[in-house]
Amino acid sequence: MTRDLMMSRRNVLASGLALGVSAFAPAVRASAPIKVAGIHASPVENAWNSVLHKALQDAAAEGVIEYVFSEGVSGTDYPRAMREYAEQGAKLIIGEAYAVEKQAREVAVDYPETAFVLGSSGKESGDNFGVFGTWNHDGAYLAGMLAGKMTKSNVVGSVGAMPIPEVNMLINAFAAGVKAVNPDAKHLVTFIGTFFDPPKAREAGLAQIDAGADILFGERIGTADAAKERNIKSVGSLIDYTPRYPDTVFANALWGFRPILSAAIADVAAGKPVGKDYTAFGLLKEGGSDVAYVKGVAPAEAETAMEAKRAEIKSGAFEVPRITDEPK
């Protein structure tokens, strides 16, 4: 009852706004863009969120969606922001459920008309709560294939936040890529025990370099700073770090969110339930994850072998192993 009353108030507000906007918008679009809200637990400049944010902004620029967002929404505030956007009439809500798995699903039950597709470590629920994971291990494997051929000390290292499944899978894939081309290589792993402390990630990187590593895979930012300082090469994760560390980061295990977003938008537009796992759309063969590398840094034959494997992954002939156990 109270909620109905409030919704009507909000609807009035929202439609007023919409009128104002549509008066200026060119009235040529065939189908109206879908209202999508992004709720980011961190600032949108944060690497992971920036991937989502960019895909959403691109889609908005193409006129596929209308995109509103908030950032830095944490803990118990998160479900409230979800309700807020649902009340405002967003058709699809994109975000992350990691710290609020249960509450996020409860919100979805209360708003059956809104589609929720959130990053999550759990399962989808009902018709309107879909999930996705961050699978950029395809890119990590391919970057590992380059690193394996480049290491002179035969030691490479990875710096991660915490041994959670997605991080484990990523680091294991990097290690598998290294071992695939260089079975004798040694792989060091450090977890800094916090999701956020770049100076500590740098120290961890330096520790690995002093333990013999000459290529670092940085799941956390700060790792590349250690590599830069000691003039060795490193591999970035999620986004392209090469422009920020031009002589250091020679390869990146990219993650792409656009295919996941497009799949979710398509389902919403077609009126189909979104209660499913969208993770696989983030794979390389769907156009999600990929490797971005500076050509000519790794030996030419290593690049050729890697590109061949990349084509195999794309075609589905090869699948990068998904190992979620803690790497040792």
């Binding site: 400049e45 916090t194 956020f196 500590k200 520790a207 333990a211 700060g222 040792k328």
Partner: protein
């Protein structure tokens, strides 16, 4: 083998952010003021320094900007806590929150961008020593903070300025009676502390890990406050403590890199636990406290 060399090489640089901020807080507390806003002051200095370097202003100017900016913010603390005699704990926390908020706001468009750090300078002969040589290969700020440590030690041990600052903290009424302005001295001490916290933040953001990321100070300001107590308000012990805290955190990482697993939470809470114990020991013995503690810490001065 390598782990020891790694710790020796990295210890001083890892200690520098704690050390700079702690030296500043030492002077503040010696003057009888407790400023708990160090974390925010560091964050504010860090973002200012980063912005300056990012736009090509260079490292020298970035430290100047960070020092000035954090000093101004700390003067707001001084105005409220000393000028208006507000509760120092509440004021310090407010400044901390404000500093962190401002740093996030200013740094928003610079998130996870990078700049160039500073080169490491090798000392002649010393840097050639096997194993320990890298201890003597450090960036200029590390050497300067060692010099600052020495200067502050000399100040407290031998100079009149040091004596007056200590007197202000020990017995403000007496200091006032013999003609010193307690408020002016405390203002100056707080501004000095703010400057040093700004330097500490600048070091973290443009030298140690030359990038900006919101929240990158990650509790180092609190460690600095702990360090002052751990060092029982003595310059030399604070320096040793900073090295110790730096070495311990590196030890954990070195152990992991060589395949050993140490629970990182134990290492992370070690500085605080040790500080609590040290505080208990020195406070329990009234004689020790009299030697080391500060009588008027945190209390407003009213004539």
């Amino acid at each position: 083998m390598n782990a020891l060399e790694f710790i020796l090489a990295g210890m001083l640089a890892a200690a520098t952010p704690f050390l700079l901020a702690a030296l500043g807080e030492l002077v503040v507390e010696r003057a009888g003021v407790l400023n708990l806003g160090v974390e925010g002051l560091m964050a504010f200095g860090a973002v200012l320094a980063f912005i300056v370097v990012y736009h090509g202003g260079g490292h020298l100017l970035s430290f100047v900007a960070a020092g000035l900016g954090s000093a101004v913010l700390s003067l707001v603390f001084a105005l409220v806590a000393l000028g208006f005699r507000a509760n120092q704990v509440a004021t310090g926390l407010a400044i901390g929150i404000l500093g962190q908020g401002l740093s996030a706001l200013f740094g928003k468009t610079y998130e996870s961008l990078t700049v160039k750090g500073l080169p490491k300078l090798a000392l002649p002969w010393l840097s050639e020593i096997p194993l320990a040589g890298r201890l003597f290969t450090q960036d200029i700020v590390v050497w300067l903070s060692l010099a600052a440590t020495l200067a502050i030690w000399v100040m407290f041990a031998y100079t009149k300025v040091g004596l007056v600052v200590r007197a202000t903290g020990e017995n403000p009424k007496a200091a006032h009676a013999i003609g010193y302005s307690v408020t002016a001295i405390r203002f100056a001490a707080v501004a000095f502390g703010g400057t040093m916290a700004g330097f500490a933040g600048a070091y973290a953001a443009v030298v140690y890990t030359p990038l900006w990321a919101d929240g990158m100070i990650a509790g180092r300001g609190w460690i600095a406050i702990a360090l002052v107590v751990f060092g029982t308000w003595l310059t030399g012990r604070i320096f040793l403590g900073a090295c110790l805290f730096g070495a311990v955190s590196l030890m954990g990482l070195a152990a992991q890199a060589t395949g050993l697993d140490v629970p990182s939470q134990v290492l992370a809470s070690l500085p605080y636990l040790v500080t609590i114990i040290v505080l208990g020991i020195i406070s329990a013995d009234r004689r020790l406290l009299k030697l080391n503690g500060i009588a008027s810490l945190g209390e407003p001065f009213e004539r």
